[in-house]
Symmetry: C2
Subunit: 159 residues, 2 copies
Amino acid sequence: MAKFKLDEVDHQILDMLIDNTRTPFTDIAKRLLISAGTVHVRVKKMEDAGIIKGSSLTLDYEKLGYSFIAYVGVFLEKTHQTKFVLERLNQIPYITVAHITTGKFNIFCKVRARDTNHAKEIIFKIDDIEGVYRTETMISLEESINDKKRLMHTIFNEI
Amino acid sequence: MAKFKLDEVDHQILDMLIDNTRTPFTDIAKRLLISAGTVHVRVKKMEDAGIIKGSSLTLDYEKLGYSFIAYVGVFLEKTHQTKFVLERLNQIPYITVAHITTGKFNIFCKVRARDTNHAKEIIFKIDDIEGVYRTETMISLEESINDKKRLMHTIFNEI
DNA sequence: GGTGAAACTTCTAATAA
DNA sequence: TTATTAGAAGTTTCACC
């Protein structure tokens, strides 16, 4: 996949928008000593190029009663039908992310639950899917790192 | 942690903002047949309550040359210093997420890299951290599920 | 590429219901 | 709690560098 070249101005714009997608373009313009029109054009260009895929809210799931996070590795049976199992997994809304992987597991997912009991229910549901041989659960005690900005800065400095 | 009560209107507002945080409040108002002022008040209330923690851009890392994703489980030595190792991990920008876990691993992280070689470098760096006994890598072949909306809908319907 | 200003749209807070 | 309103603020376009 080809690299898209971002210059320092693009980088600074992204930097401000990553923190808050509703940062007014006029604020960004003031900070970068450019015009708001330029900010607008730059953002549009990055959107058109697909570098900016979209924007999203970060909700506090703990405040909504969902403080339990676990990662679940799924082993499939020899005659496994990855697609079939993924479709079933996709019906469990508490599974927020799933990857097909090589290595220890065949499928690897992230689960958000209310508490231990709720997580148990979800994991049993996963175990019950046809084609799932067994699962292995890792419970998150603490999310210690979650930083999207550092990677972006590193990528920028490489270019 | 106490649940915060969201009504149908809050839910619909979140639903639209999760897809695009820059959706004009006037658009949301039109769709929900309420006034823009009401949307504004509701959003502010959810921000003040901390339900909405923030907003962020979704970048296409593949387009930026980072198409490799792996999950790395870290085993620490018996006399392990989790905090020390986390500090070292935090210095590697390609580690975008890390959790302290119970279960198979002591620490569990997500790695974003350019390619297999780059990933190898990063994993060797993790292996070299003092206190790390060994690591186990799961390479993502495909991100098959990544859906934040389904969970929100489910949470809402429970309340 | 960028600017600056005009035209248009949206936000926000005060007031009223 | 919600609606209305109006001035402030932000966005977007465009003629011109």
